[in-house]
Assembly symmetry: C2
Homo-oligomer: 290 residues x 2
């Protein structure tokens, strides 16, 4: 197996995900030649000082020449430009390019054609790993351990590229799921994007006009609203990329709250009990952390 893992790996963007990926690769694939691209000189310098990579540079070709696996851990908005630059480098034969973004439809539709005529293949990935913290300082070697990574191959994805990307994520401890980019965006709108926006609405409703409740906060509130501390720039990007699906999911949650409010106002004891019973029954289906 280990012979078929990538040997020259380029990571774009040394933030929380890119940095954690570098740490995990150093541990699980110590023989891999690791290259990190950063937008700013100072970020590339920091990667060098931490010894996270064999090459750290702001130059795409320096990082990509000879690479047989590339992971974009950069904002979706900059990926198309990066993809074009990557194609100008001397990539290894059968290089696979992937990303780690939270939305897959737009990214795959944009990047698939860019690489379609090259000797390289793009396949979308979404490792369900993260934190409300951002940046290289928050990176952790075990961020991907036991986490689910969703791969979104298309009808055009070649088997050899799919096999390679599967081996890559498995090597750093991920459990794999595969579905189409659209199916991904539909599911993730409901179990990640909508809950994020709801957590933000809860944090505002609870604390906005009267932060006096702050001192009473327990772990219930900490957990329920934790993701609301996520990076607003990152999250608004995600929201606009997956807007239609998110609107449907947020509307379902909002309508549920409206029904709930009616039950509270009418003192509908049976209705509330049914609501709480149903929520518990569904939540109990969620597997514990692996």
């Amino acid at each position: 197996m280990s012979e078929s893992l990538p040997t020259n790996i380029a990571i774009f963007g040394p933030g929380l995900l890119g940095g954690s990926l570098a740490l995990a690769l150093r541990k699980h694939q110590p023989k891999a030649h690791l290259r990190i691209w950063a937008r700013r000189d100072s970020a590339a310098e920091e990667v060098k000082q931490r010894g996270l990579a064999d090459i750290a540079s702001t130059d795409v070709r320096t990082v990509c020449d000879g690479a047989d696996f590339i992971i974009l851990c950069t904002p979706v908005a900059s990926m198309l430009e990066q993809a074009k630059e990557i194609l100008s480098a001397s990539l290894a034969t059968d290089c696979v390019i992937t990303d780690v973004g939270s939305v897959k439809g737009t990214v795959v539709n944009t990047l698939d054609p860019v690489f379609a005529n090259a000797r390289a293949a793009f396949i979308g990935s979404h490792p369900m790993a993260g934190s409300e913290k951002a940046g290289l300082d928050a990176a952790r070697v075990d961020l991907f351990d036991g986490k689910t990574c969703i791969l979104t191959p298309t009808l055009f994805t070649r088997d050899v590229a799919l096999a390679k990307i599967r081996r890559f994520w498995k090597s750093i401890g991920c459990r794999l799921l595969e579905m189409s980019p659209d199916e991904h965006d539909h599911n993730v709108a409901r179990i990640s994007h909508m809950p994020h926006l709801t957590a933000a609405a809860v944090a505002i409703a609870a604390l906005k006009n009267d932060p006096g409740a702050l001192e009473c906060v327990g772990n219930g509130f900490r957990n329920t609203t934790r993701i609301a501390a996520g990076d607003p720039g990152l999250w608004s990007g995600i929201v606009w990329e997956n807007r239609e699906e998110i609107i449907t999911a947020v509307r379902a949650a909002r309508d549920g709250m409206t029904e709930l409010l009616a039950m509270l106002e009418k003192v509908d004891e049976k209705g509330l009990r049914r609501f709480l019973d149903e929520a518990k029954k569904l939540r109990d289906l969620v597997p514990d952390k692996v």
Copy 2:
């Protein structure tokens, strides 16, 4: 200090909170004589078999005779009946009675008068400790470690009783807050009861019509909806006890979601960014777990 801790302590209800309290008292107050009242013979028997108490019984007087500290860890609905029975026992001088319920106004208003003319005092407590799990099997010796316990004294509370209850909760590791029962219910509606109901609405909206998203679940969803797995009977009791305050808080959250939905539909990028920025700013005020 340790001389002034209670010596004969009765716990009503060996569930998650009562059981964890017994474990914590065995650890932190090993000299205390511990008595546990259970509604069912089989529950009293289990307490005995686990060695959690010196006395375990379904008889109130057996448990309360000589007690100088009593904690009601039973449903609010049964507390008034228990309080009357407790008064028929031969309590120690200056016995303090408290509870661990999530709503304080109704409980304190009901129980204060019952004990007002006795040589005993009732003071409401709300340790902000719990779990989505219930029952003695879920009890943990460290459940109260570092947790906030809100005390709700009234104008009638005697200093000596307040001093005693403070020492009690501190002895098992709690950090104390004090406020009126009404202030407690106002705050807790916003940072506990409303977030609970919202988590239930999110679990239903995400999973009801299409549990296919289940396999994509990450820790964000796990955390955001964890409390929705709480006991529906317990939670509907809480909701009806604190209905007015909860309606106000749920309405604020629901209105926030409606605003959010309008921003998504209008592609109001500035509005969404303001919303996410505000949520992050408020959530960042929440202190980390102690």
